[in-house]
Amino acid sequence: MIINHPLLGPRDSAEFVYMGDASLIERPDPDAEDAAELFHDYAYLRENPAGELRELWFHEGGDRSWLVVTRNTVTHEISKVELARDVARNKGRST
């Protein structure tokens, strides 16, 4: 596969390490009343769609960016590649 890195252009997927569902960016609030439940879901529950999935890839053989890659798990078509940091900012993870 080829991942179109937002900063470095098209790169072979062999340069990357895969970590699955990008929902890991949405780490729950540890101070929430139901934090234990929230963290359980966060740590263990994943969607496994046959279709588009937003997933995390680490450019280990490159600039060490974490990327959010939107990939169709059936066709492997990649429709969007973003810097995970930008996604995290948009999710309000900046403190």
């Binding site: 596969m1 080829i2 390490v17 970590m19 890991l24 960016i25 780490r27 540890p30 101070d31 934090a35 234990a36 963290f39 359980h40 966060y42 740590a43 263990y44 995390l56 680490f58 280990e60 060490r64 960016s65 974490w66 066709t75 492997h76 078509e77 990649i78 810097l83 995970a84 940091r85 930008d86 996604v87 995290a88 900012r89 993870r93 900046s94 403190t95």
Partner: protein, 979 residues
């Protein structure tokens, strides 16, 4: 020896005679021959035995789809089984042997299977070897193993080298027949980067084997001109002898280039084969079509071959399979074979055409509306039995029979991403479907456009369309209509072979249907149809057609099995490339590696690193002697250990402390500058991930260490937290593992030793540089260094880091300066012994199942702050009464052995899994205690000190009485490290 079946003409170099041997017998051929063409020219039709019935077989094809003519090529370490005689380029000295026969190809004992064929039908193994179960291991399996397999291995390491490479192009053209050549010309003339790959050693495809005109000249001359033009274009790369084996994601194709297979041995420094990864913007598949046979009784005798293959042998290689041949056809194509062979001077016994309206000929007899029903000839064809249109029988004397039932477009690569071919009712064949791999288009016979003109123009147009350029002018060529009927088998046949390699007959397909294995995937597995090295290239369609007929369905309803890479068999060595033996992964050496080697160190692989395991000295005959000495001397005076391989991560920024506070479960915000703190990292699920130290060199600067094994993983994790969870904190990370050489200097004399190399004003006194201090200093007169007062051994100890290029010099300096103290270098074994004696957890204890609580560090998990894993570390399941605790074990009888991996059972009671109390993770001989000691996880272990238990190991069948102890066997108060 004369080549009795060699004709005039052909594309062989008669000036260059080549000698070769087959089954020990010497023959002559020419440059340009394949092994199959040279054998046929020498009058040899018998080239192999079939897999199951050991029936005598000759070549069916003249290309890579060959099911029959499989040979063992070369000898010694280069011996390779199951190579196709039809694709092996002849070279001088070639040595090939037939396979799957004993004692000889002409007399094969296992051919008794053929007589027993009534029993060896589809599903034979499933039915026969089911019962009684007790027979399986002793009787059935050995028998099956002996009979199984095709060809034999050399049993020595492959003598050749293989390589991998990467190429990029605007257009990849797969197949250099008429469509492929026109596509490459179109793209090449337009200045595009083009790769033209073809599995053959000569480019041209069927243009090399047909007697026809293209552009007013012979097809061969036109091809030669076009290939010459393509060679002259700098933007076109011709890759002959290159098979595209798979269509992968995003325009990436795998291709195997046979660089040296046409040579006796590869040229010096050259690989045998190269696995190319080709990145293409567009791909045009011009893979042509594969001719399909007709099934009739005993259609597998040597001499029976596809009509197009017969034409290839005669036209391209000037080799006829026999002096007198017949043709059995259901379409016009068979008549081309008769015409060409007749023109070449081969006698035509007759053309048997299934069609009542078959075209007639002035040159040979045509039997319209007739069918071949049977053949004769034990080791090669002698007669073909024909049923004429009026029902009468006739016997044709012939040494070869060309058969054709039309052509199947070669759709293989169009299906590599689960695309399904579509049924073309006019052609009675599958053609490429709509869901092609992205970026791929198909042209020529692979689409079902079988005329030369259609192939030429489709090639040009498809390339022009894909690239947005002008199509090259298409030359004049034959454009005959190419209708073909569905004629799969002769009515009433039974022992009629569909899959010749795996011996699947029409009868087997019928049996499979009868027994309920009716889906194509079941049919394949029950009968083994299409399972062999040729993956059913010539056989699948026939089997599908018969199954469809039996099931009363149309062929498209039955469908096809899935085509998967590789297109043709690929050597494992090719896939491995250079990654063999020690080159499987990189080997990392520390800066003082060669110093250690000079000292005679024994090395161990840790991750990719080589680390000194121990340093034997004269007189030591057992590793334990070396390790015990290293431990004792370090504890008595001073030892030095290379710990460069530990991961080092530089953490800088205003928010560095806040960041580490999130990473580690224990607090880091208040670590003062100049201090080191031990840190434990948890995974988000609350399980311990890794441990190490973080040294605060400045307000905004920490140096973090990780275990050797987890260095990469921890770095990745820290980047995840930094980028994804704390995106706007001011913190930067970089791995500096390779930048610093680091040494542990341990033992009561470590301070005295270091005192000799540190520069003023560094004060090493206990007050000036206490336990857990760290500092940037200089040593040896100005060399910058980092000094940490940390201890893994439990002794007074330091770790000193210098820029990597000074590592070797520092080690030598420490050894010289330490001579007065009797300094010893120590390796990973002594390191391990001392950390076990001290009760420090390492990889064996941080094993992915243990928590901070298990490790005796439950109290470290701060409840005043959030850190990764802190929430889930508090869940009930990880905090139940009776949880495992890290403890020490020592044998009651000092001579007994503690085995890591052994399980702890109560002193009395049953020994089984339900009474398991815990397990030993690490064990070593402690010179200090004079016995072995171990670290273990034990249920409620911290409350069971002094208790006796049995340590059992079903693997080593041992049972040892042990006593539960504190994990801190040596200096439990920690007085030494603080001294």
């Amino acid at each position: 020896m004369s080549q009795i079946n060699r004709l005039n003409g052909g594309q062989i170099d008669r000036a260059r005679a080549l000698r070769f041997t087959f089954d020990g017998k010497s023959y002559a051929g020419h440059q340009g021959d394949t092994l199959a063409s040279a054998l046929l020219a020498n009058g040899v039709r018998l080239m192999g035995r079939s897999f199951k019935y050991h029936r005598p077989r000759g070549p069916l094809t003249a290309d890579s789809s060959e099911p029959n003519a499989l040979v063992e090529l070369r000898n010694g370490a280069r011996q390779e089984p199951n190579t196709r005689a039809t694709t092996i380029e002849l070279f001088d000295g070639l040595d090939a042997n037939s396979q799957n026969r004993w004692p000889s190809l002409k007399f094969d004992v296992m051919a008794v299977n053929d007589a027993a064929s009534n029993f060896l039908t589809a599903g034979f193994y499933y039915k026969t070897f089911m019962w009684p179960a007790a027979f399986w291991e002793k009787l059935y399996e050995p028998i099956i193993r002996k009979a199984a397999g095709l060809g034999s291995l050399s049993m020595t390491a492959d003598a050749d080298e293989y390589d991998k490479g990467f190429r990029h192009c605007d257009l990849l053209v797969i197949g250099a027949g008429p469509a492929g050549l026109m596509a490459a010309l179109t793209a090449g003339r337009a200045g595009k980067e083009v790769i033209l790959a073809d599995e053959d050693f000569a480019m041209g495809g069927r243009l090399l084997t047909e007697q026809e005109e293209v552009g007013g000249t012979s097809a061969l001359d036109w091809t030669v001109q076009m290939v010459a033009e393509l060679s002259s274009l700098p933007n076109v790369r011709l890759m002959p002898r290159t098979t595209v084996i798979g269509a992968f994601d995003h325009g990436i194709y795998g291709a195997v280039e046979r660089v040296s297979d046409h040579l006796a041995t590869p040229d010096a420094g050259k690989p045998r084969q190269i696995l190319w990864r080709i990145y293409s913007q567009h791909t045009l598949l011009c893979a042509g079509a594969l001719e399909r046979p007709i099934a009739f009784d005993h259609n597998d005798r040597p001499g029976v071959m596809l009509a197009s293959a017969m034409r290839s042998y005669v036209n391209r290689w000037a080799a006829t399979p026999a002096q007198k041949v017949a043709v059995f056809t259901s379409c016009d194509d068979g008549h081309r074979t008769a015409r060409d062979l007749n023109a070449a001077g081969v006698k035509i016994a007759a053309v048997v055409d299934t069609r009542a309206d078959a075209p007639s000929s002035m040159d040979y007899e045509v039997l319209a509306g007739a069918q071949v029903t049977q053949t004769k000839g034990r080791l090669g064809l002698t007669f073909a039995q024909v049923r004429l249109a009026d029902g009468s029988e006739r016997t044709l004397e012939c040494g070869a029979l060309g058969i054709t039932g039309g052509w199947n477009p070669n759709v293989h690569l169009t299906c590599h991403q689960r695309g399904r071919p579509a049924w073309d009712a006019d052609l009675n064949a599958f053609v490429p479907g709509q869901d092609l791999p992205p970026g791929m288009s198909v042209a020529g016979a692979a689409t079902g456009a079988f005329s030369t003109h259609a192939a030429l123009s489709q090639g040009a147009d498809s390339a022009a369309k894909a690239l947005g350029v002008k199509a090259a002018d298409v030359p004049e060529a034959q454009d005959a209509p190419t209708g073909q009927s569905a004629f799969w088998y002769v009515e009433g046949c039974s022992r009629a072979w569909l899959d010749q390699q795996n011996d699947v007959t029409v009868k087997d397909v019928k049996l499979s249907h009868q027994e309920g294995f009716r889906s194509v995937e079941h049919l394949k597995r029950y009968t083994t149809l299409g399972m062999a090295t040729d993956q059913g290239k010539t056989s699948n369609m026939g089997g599908l057609a018969i199954m469809a007929e039996l099931a009363g369905k149309a062929i498209p309803e039955v469908g096809t099995t899935i085509f998967r890479p590789p297109y043709t068999p690929t050597a494992i060595g090719t896939l491995a490339g250079r990654m063999r033996g020690m080159e499987f992964h990189p080997t990392r050496l520390t800066p003082s590696h060669f110093w250690a080697k000079e000292r005679g160190a024994v090395f161990v692989e840790v991750g990719n690193w080589l680390r000194a395991q121990w340093f034997p000295i004269e007189g030591e005959t057992h590793w334990r002697q070396s390790v015990d000495r290293e431990v004792s001397q370090t504890r008595a005076s001073v030892g030095v250990c290379d710990c460069t391989t530990l991961g080092k991560i530089d953490v800088q920024g205003v928010d560095a402390a806040t960041f580490l506070n999130k990473i580690y479960c224990n607090p880091f915000v208040k670590v003062p500058v100049g201090k080191v703190r031990y840190g434990l990292m948890l995974r988000e699920d609350g399980i311990a991930m890794d441990d190490g130290t973080a040294a605060r060199l400045a307000e905004d600067h920490f140096v973090v260490t990780t275990t050797t094994a987890n260095a990469g993983k921890v770095y990745q994790h820290m980047e995840f937290v930094r980028q994804c969870l704390m995106p706007d904190e001011d913190v930067q990370l970089i791995s500096t593992t390779e930048a610093w050489a680091q040494y542990a200097v341990a033992g009561p004399n470590s301070r005295a030793l270091l005192q000799k190399i540190v520069d003023a004003p560094t004060d090493l006194s206990n007050e000036g540089f206490p336990f857990m201090a760290c500092a940037n200093i200089t040593v040896c007169g100005g060399l910058r260094a980092r000094l940490f007062r940390i201890s893994f051994s439990g002794e007074l100890a330091y770790e000193i880091a210098v820029p990597a290029r000074y590592g070797d010099a520092l080690m030598r300096r420490l050894m010289d300066e330490g001579e007065e103290f009797g300094v010893v270098p120590y390796g990973t074994e002594a390191l391990g012994v001392m950390r076990i004696e001290k009760g420090h957890a390492a990889g064996n204890e941080l094993n992915g199942t243990t928590t901070a609580l298990n490790l005796g560090m439950g109290g470290m998990v701060s409840v005043k702050k959030d850190s990764i894993g802190s929430v889930l570390s508090r869940r009930d399941g990880l905090n139940e009464d009776g949880a495992l605790n890290l403890i020490g074990v020592k044998p009651v009888n000092a001579e007994d052995k503690i085995t890591a991996g052994g399980h702890l059972m109560n002193e009395t009671g049953p020994v089984d899994a339900s009474h398991d109390q815990g397990y030993v993770t690490s064990a070593a001989y402690s010179p200090e205690l004079g016995s072995m000691v171990g670290l273990a996880f034990l249920n409620s272990g911290k409350d069971r000190l002094g208790e006796r238990m049995r340590l059992v190991s079903p693997v080593t069948q041992s049972e040892v009485l042990v006593e539960v102890a504190s994990a801190h066997f040596v200096d439990p108060e920690g007085g030494r490290q603080r001294a």
